[in-house]
Every structure is written in C-alpha cells, then in structure tokens.
Subunit: 155 residues, 2 copies
C-alpha cells in the first residue's frame, strides 16, 4: 500500500513549496474536504514520504557569502577508512552535504562559509585534518543558478 495517486502527489508538491500551509487552506486549494486531506496528510507522514519540515533560511543574509564544493580523495579506499572519514564529516557542522561518488574522486562535499579566508581555515584545520584525506580540489560557486529545487512529482 505505498502507491500514490494524483492527489497525494499534489499534496506533497504543495507541502514542499509551502510547508506551513494550514490543513483548511490546502484542502480548499485542492478541492478536498479538510478531513480527507487530514487523513491523507497523516498517512503520508506515517508511511515515510514526508520525513519532516523545515524553514528555508537565506544563507547570504546570515553571513554565508560563499558556497563551495570540494572533491576529496582518500589515501586508502578501505571500508574502515571510509567509515572514519564519514564520521568526521557528520561531526563537522560546516559541511552541509557529503556524498561518496564513483569516478575520479571519492567524496563530494558542499559547504557554506563566510568568505575565502574562512574557507582557507576550514580547508586547513577541518577538512585536511580529517582521517585519510589525501587530496582535495576546490570549486567556489560564482553564481547559484538553481538552488534546492523541489523534487519533481509528475502530476
């Protein structure tokens, strides 16, 4: 019973875009009775389609003027080395995303910092100090063309 109909997907899309919309208003938008929407909503949370809600903050206004991606290569590619590195990553709040990838390097990291000076310190004191890090390549973002778009839910 994890099949979604068109209405479910429309609910999910609306909630991605406006996570604080009231049950009553969303029901009206979709032409549903509020109780039906309430049922569907709770089901979507219970089944794990919705994992939570969050405020979107403006990084620049909060002093994070710099977005940087870093490609990281480890010196050993053993399961143990991966786990050590992953744990260090999870403890670093500056790291917003980190993914193990297949290809020319091992991890791709996304981080937001105040400026280049802050990044230099982060690179030297945090990232290069992590276990197993052999090589990094830094890509500073010049322009954010698209940022955190909604998951497409074919309606």
């Amino acid at each position: 019973m994890t099949e979604l109909d068109k209405t479910d997907r429309r609910i999910l899309m609306e909630l991605q875009l406006d996570g604080r919309v009231s049950n009553a208003e969303l029901a009206q938008r979709l032409g549903l009775p509020p109780t039906s929407l309430s049922d569907r909503f709770k089901r979507l949370v219970r089944q794990g389609f919705i994992t939570g809600f969050g405020a979107r903050l403006d990084p620049h206004q909060l002093g994070y003027g710099l977005l940087v991606f870093v490609e990281v290569t480890l010196d050993k590619t053993t399961p143990d080395a991966f786990e050590m590195f992953a744990q260090a990553v999870r403890r670093a709040p500056e790291i917003l995303e980190c993914h193990m990838v297949g290809g020319g390097f091992d991890y791709l990291i996304k981080t937001r910092l105040a400026d280049m000076n802050t990044y230099r310190r982060f690179l030297g004191e945090v990232l290069l100090a992590m276990p197993g890090v052999k090589e990094t390549r830094t890509y500073a973002v010049i322009e954010e063309v698209k940022n955190d778009g909604p998951l497409p839910l074919m309606l």
Copy 2:
C-alpha cells in the same frame, strides 16, 4: 537593525529542524513568552532571514533511487551562452541544483532520477540538448553520507 542575538539564532535553528512547531511550543522550549516569540518570528520573516517553509520528502520512497552530480563545460564562455544555459536549467525540473563554479569546468548540477536508464535518457535528451553544452562528467552517488544539513548558527 539586521543583527541577530542569541535568541534569534536559536529560533532559526529550531525552525530549520522543525518548521511546523507551533508558536506556543517553541516559546516554551526557549523559555519565552509566546507573544515575544511571535514578534521575533514575524520580524525574522519580514527581514528575509526566513525565506519560506517546506516539507522534506524521502527521495527513495518516491522512486528516486539515484542521485547524480554532473560537471558541465560549455563550448563558449560568453555572458550570452551562460544565460541561455541557465534558462534551460531553470526549466528542467529534474535538476535540483545548478551552480556556476570557477575551476576546471563551468557548472555543477545535482539531479535525482529513478535509475541509470533514466539518467541515460536525461543526459542524452535533456542535458546534452541544452544550448552550449560541450562536455559532461557524471558522478553517481554511492552513499549519501550527509544530506541537507542545517545551516550552522553559532549559538
């Protein structure tokens, strides 16, 4: 008056993690009177620190089994070519993020798709069909170590 005190930052952090918390409960968590929190909340929205709210969805449960990063190089690096490409990106819902970067390539793209077959079609029919695209390198994500962490707000 765009300075944030410790209380403002705690509010923002709580709302990042739980965007649907009620005013009354958040006030209680932070030891504030509900009306004070309500005032601060509205001020944070009005000043642009909070840009919106959204539901977090589980990509895998929604059929997006594959996360891919793609490095894109354009054949011309003129302002006009950049703008053409950026517009095409904004029209492609599969592209969740796209950033212009400085370094060995021009754009870094983040996309979620069902599987490798879907990605092959996306690469051929969408990405390579975009204006000015000369070269792409694909990095499929093996493991999502950290995903969409909250912006760190030193409390």
